[in-house]
Symmetry: C2
């Protein structure tokens, strides 16, 4: 019988680990004391079963729980409910990793474009990709499109909205997308290089589905969303049932989850359909351990059932001066995201941007 | 100029607190170094401003940041992005509380039914309400409806689905709702007491909006969702633009957020429109501090702009034997939720359920 395996780290003493693990397995499925489970179908096909309890090298106990896949209903919301619904309310639990059985991964489907699809759209092969952000929030559509032109002229591959660009009265979505898509076409005509503009979708389903339709109608060739902010099930529906262009995933509101970054951004985001996943890099203004970032990138790109690889996008405060090193660190199948650092010298944004593009192109990545 | 004020606790030394606070205010709005903000409109109308930095009695530093309301676009997704989007990725920050200006609270709207609306539907005034759960997951619609009959006959006010009941093949949503709504009507005819059946909505927007339509068409008089699992913006759209019945909010997947329970469940859930908010009670199988639970309940019920009060629903492992004490603790405007504990003695579920109902009715709450 197919099962989803989830590992957790419990902050408990060894003596109480087995009992605590058993409680967790019940909490995540039947949510009643074991004594209430009198039906053998429920005990076999629904209830979580503890498979392993052992000391965790990082302290506490590492436990593995096996959940019959039937409990998830193969639904993107119910799956996360089984993974970490009520147990997220227990302060002694951290969700460490998730192993999805074939039928669940097939139901989720994963990236529709993935690394190769994004490369095709950008027309870039054999080197890491580059990415930057039109920001800060507060500018008009024309001002943002002006910034877009600087970045595109310098040859950046993907130019995305800041994840905080919403339906602001001073910068309505439709006007912004229209202005940036026009800028994309103009610079293509001027230079022969066609950057990919990536508008940010944000709001309730009604708003976000309208934004997606508008973006696609105006010719945007990719979009971005923050899955944890809009909700993982909405994210899934956008990827699998609504978008005809690739979807970049932004990590906003996701760090607060007591789920490891590599499990949430590396596995779940990919399984749900992100074509590219932005994450905060070690040594940036966020400081996750380097080993975790490496693992996250591996999770996104290693073979996984029939699911396409997704593009790792390290960001979160990379300086132009470090771009070549980070490109070498993540290798060819990656996209470097530099945002505010391109703009720190007034009137020298174009120069810094060209330095970024050159650094990645000449980093000697193979 | 209107502003949203958010307080955070930073795990930093006093000497670095002011600089770290300033970084956080930038991260949440302009997301560029201060030097890049050259436009006075952006500095005044968009950028976060640190208002206060002082030692936190719980350790670390307490900071208050003032965000111009314009940055939120009065949008339910973008608001949370400004509150805790990127900063949630910083391990040294906890979001402590949120103060919403009038225009934002008006845009969000809050509960449509609230405490009085729920009392009216249940026909109960002057005492705390009672609530239980049809579970465990894995049962057929008929089996769950059978359990419903036991609870309804005993006189429980609200009888909700377990939050893990999804579109399972062995228990499709429509069949379950049809069976339980029929049971509600049967027991009303039999006893003159009409319990309120509350189906659980879960899935992607497409699934969940269909479930809502089905539930309302079949005569369900309230529904439940888990806002953090389906996404806060979806939750808002359900409450404010789609549901014509009251909405109960379940805390699943919400504890992992490094946002205090009282801020997330007490303020945000109410502002977004929850008519009743389920939370894990102190002394339950979850153990939040009692003072925080009290504060959470206060946040739900105290006057707040023009927004209706929402019903506090303590749960998470209350034993029948403690019901009277907890009823006195939370007072008249509360609803006690007891789930699995009603079912721990085989074939005595009805008796335990009546004991629960009696305990609350005779708790001497005023």
């Amino acid at each position: 019988m197919e099962a989803m395996r989830v590992t957790y780290r419990l902050d408990v003493e060894p003596a109480s680990a087995a009992a605590r693990a058993e409680e967790l397995a019940l909490e995540q499925t039947v949510e009643v004391p074991r004594i209430v489970v009198r039906d053998p179908f429920i005990a076999d096909r629904i209830m979580g079963q503890v498979e392993d309890v052992s000391p965790d090298p990082e302290g506490g106990q590492r436990i593995t729980v096996r959940y019959p896949v039937a409990a998830t209903a193969h639904d993107p919301a119910q799956m996360m409910n089984v993974v970490f619904g009520n147990s997220s309310l227990h302060p002694d639990v951290e969700c460490v990793d998730v192993e999805l059985p074939d039928s669940l991964l097939e139901a989720l489907r994963g990236p529709r474009f993935g690394v190769e699809g994004l490369r095709k759209i950008a027309g870039v092969h054999g080197r890491p990709l580059t990415c930057t952000t039109v920001k800060p929030m507060g500018q008009s559509p024309d001002a943002l499109a002006g910034l877009f032109r600087i970045f595109a002229r310098a040859g950046v591959d993907f130019i995305k909205d800041d994840h905080g660009l919403a339906e602001h009265s001073f910068c309505p979505f439709e006007e912004r997308v229209r202005a940036c898509v026009a800028a994309e076409a103009d610079i293509f005509e001027e230079t022969g290089h066609r950057s990919v503009y990536v508008p940010n979708l944000i709001g309730t389903p009604k708003t976000i589905f309208r934004q997606l339709d508008v973006a696609e109608a105006l010719g945007a060739r990719a979009v971005m969303v923050s899955p944890m902010l809009i909700g993982l099930p909405v994210f899934w529906e956008i990827c699998q049932e609504r978008a005809s262009v690739p979807v970049l995933a932004h990590p906003a509101f996701g760090g607060a989850q007591r789920i490891r970054a590599e499990a949430l951004f590396g596995r779940i985001f990919r399984a749900y359909g992100a074509d590219a996943v932005i994450f905060v890099n070690s040594g940036s203004r966020f400081s996750p351990p380097e080993a975790r970032c490496r693992r996250l990138a591996e999770y996104l790109t290693t073979p996984w059932g029939g699911v396409l690889p997704a593009l790792p996008v390290p960001g979160g405060g990379i300086a132009v001066e470090n771009a070549a090193r980070i490109a070498r660190q993540y290798g060819v199948d990656s996209m470097l995201l530099i945002g505010g650092n391109l703009q720190i010298e007034a009137d020298r944004t174009a120069e810094r941007c060209r330095a970024f593009v050159d650094a990645v192109a000449t980093a000697g990545v193979d």
